[in-house]
Symmetry: C2
Subunit: 415 residues, 2 copies
């Protein structure tokens, strides 16, 4: 069963927003056994939409459309729907009641004319109720192909997917079982890993596909397969995973499907009844944000401090100013002291700290762009590590975050 | 001049990564006068790539391809290039020398066989040197259409775009001038704004396109136009912007093209010689991360503290525990105290603080999910604001960040 995702809206095509909806939809479809053949981002233009519908219908069974459904004049999706399905817009009482209810409850103002037009929907459409917004989801069919249209607002779209679209697709089709397993590794490059697992790759059954996903200082390796009997697929995969884990034992961190590295760390801390504090300089809050973007972070994360200015490392964290003067603010000594001090400040069991220069220009110290020190404090003691992360700000920050998480994970797993 | 962006790689289609490359490329092309007609994310599969090349060539002049160029076996892009252009792979000494140089400098290990294959390129390709990686960029032409292939690693791709692709496109074509102006607004919904500016929209010249971009508690309004003479385009736009600014005066924050709201705030602080500190609870570092993702944040941001646990609000920030007991940790009083205390702690001029419950479950207080208080401290005093941000974690955090930035911006602009 193949799907084609179409996102409508110029904001993606002029680079004003990043299309996060398609990643979410792809992942959700994969999880129920639908593979995504293509994602197309197209203009909010009738001819272009019609052309894309025809193209998608030719190559896929399910066409998922997001965007182009707001209450204002710049949206043409619904009229284009009518053109494609030879249909007309009719007033829908159910949608009108829902829009009225949302206005009464949240906006507390009378309905506007533009909101009333949201109750006009193609007569052949099955309405999917949008719990979080005024634009309804719509389900239409043509020649056995399914078209689903949803608004582009991420949390509205997600609720529609989870509550309406995925259950309906599961009910409608006998879907296969798709299985991805992604090994998180650290400290080795793509080509070196490929060299090491060359014979494994050559002997891999044709039904299992391998892919390398290198990113910011680490490589993930994904095995993908599919089949109709879950138990058989799982068993065939397990055989290969056992071989691969043995080959990569020294650089294997865990499976991404069990959670991101920060989620794995969170689970490990909770299981041990331990807590974490963070002091960030060059990473500027990127580490704490990785933890707090997951619900449940409050179960192990006590707090974090971003000490961007040198004086706040002294005033807030209590790092000895003589130490900074002697070794400079970007040094192993200061990274370690930051970790020790933030651990004390928040009374946590573990702490990580970063200090360095992410560029583009030199900061409070004379350290070359890309110089990074990561400090770690544990119940047993403290240490610091030195890295050169290259000369690109985004990359320096991203690699430092990944490396700090890996070092912390190693320390936690020792206990 | 139209472009079609093709991203190759299953990781996008299974939802493992979000396609940020296309947003960057679209923005960069727009800035030099190339409009993006479509973005297609396709499978790492020969037939699919060939089909997409043909399709893109029919609708666009410039085809930008990313991904599928790593040193390992799962990439088929180069051989597909040869099939499409009726070409063959040949050894390229320049690419080989560059790969050897990178290995000697950074990997400090002998070249692997898989890296040597990276020096094989289609004979008709013009090589674009990839300063940050081993996979070269390639520029090929067919029937006057340009195909550019780049690796999918974001910082490698960006350097290739800036140093090779954009300069070459500008040299090759007489490109028009494309102008987008995006008004940031706050506090009013999409349909209410549409109602207010209805006659403006009706009278807008056909050459100027208007779009509404609602997101997380605020609406952005974009006007777009194009032409061959920059001065004429700018003048025609200025007329409309003056009208629109007057209509939206009470809810207008600034133009996104001058920077994001956090960049505008940073500029305003630097211009006034003032500094900022941040205390975050429910936003968990998302506010500080918005500031520090921009270079130059160290010019005004002294530091920030994430106090996730209630006791760290007392221990680290020095909020009075009696105040927390009396009003609960999610309260106007505590939000205001957090702002006052973090301002004192970091010795800054301004401070913002958040406390609330982003969900999905209740935290250290009994406050309903979605309850948020934002505290602000300025050189003149302090205050706190109460909001109900809905029942969706991601939305609560996102809306709170936006609202905190808006409130801070208002305070700074008073002086």
């Amino acid at each position: 069963m193949k799907a084609h995702i179409i996102t409508i809206g110029d904001e993606i095509l002029i680079g004003q927003i990043v299309d996060t909806n398609s990643a979410y939809i792809s992942k959700a479809l994969n999880a129920i056994g639908v593979s995504v053949y293509q994602i197309s981002s197209i203009q909010d233009d009738k001819d272009h939409i019609l052309e894309s519908f025809a193209f998608a219908k030719a190559d896929s069974d399910i066409i998922i459309i997001t965007g182009g459904l707001g209450p204002t004049k710049d949206d043409v999706t619904k009229s284009t729907f009518c053109a494609f399905f030879d249909d007309e817009l009719v007033f829908n009482q159910e949608v009108f009641d829902h829009v009225s209810y949302l206005f009464k409850k949240y906006v507390k103002q009378p309905l506007l004319a533009s909101n009333k037009t949201q109750a006009l929907v193609p007569s052949k459409a099955t309405i999917l109720t949008n719990r979080f917004g005024t634009a309804p989801g719509m389900w239409m069919e043509q020649d056995g192909k399914i078209f689903v249209s949803m608004p582009g607002v991420p949390y509205e779209m997600k609720a529609l997917m989870e509550e309406s679209v995925l259950p309906r697709l599961k009910e409608r089709f006998e879907l296969p079982y798709i299985l991805h397993k992604t090994l998180l590794t650290f400290g080795m490059g793509e080509s070196a890993i490929a060299d090491r697992i060359e014979s494994f790759e050559d002997e891999l059954p044709k039904s299992i596909k391998l892919a390398y996903l290198p990113s910011l200082g680490r490589v993930r390796i994904r095995l993908s397969t599919t089949g109709s009997v879950k138990e058989e697929v799982d068993a065939a995969m397990a055989v290969q995973l056992e071989k691969l884990e043995a080959l990569l034992e020294d650089i294997f961190v865990g499976y991404e499907e069990n959670g991101s590295l920060e989620e794995l760390i969170g689970k490990a801390l909770v299981a041990r009844g331990k807590t974490l504090a963070i002091a960030e300089s060059c990473t500027g809050g990127s580490i704490v944000q990785r933890f707090t973007s997951n619900p449940g972070a409050s179960g192990y994360l006590v707090g974090s401090t971003v000490t961007y200015a040198t004086r706040s490392k002294v005033d807030v964290l209590g790092v000895d100013s003589a130490l900074i003067e002697k070794h400079s603010v970007v040094s192993a000594e200061v990274a370690e002291a930051m970790a020790v001090q933030v651990k004390k400040l928040y009374n946590s069991d573990y702490a990580i700290a970063t200090t360095g220069n992410a560029g583009p220009t030199k900061g409070d110290s004379d350290a070359a762009v890309g110089t990074v020190y990561i400090g770690i404090a544990t119940p047993e003691g403290s240490t610091a590590h030195h890295f050169m992360m290259g000369n690109h700000r985004e990359r320096v920050i991203g690699k430092t975050v990944n490396k700090a998480l890996e070092l912390l994970n190693e320390e936690i797993l020792k206990n």
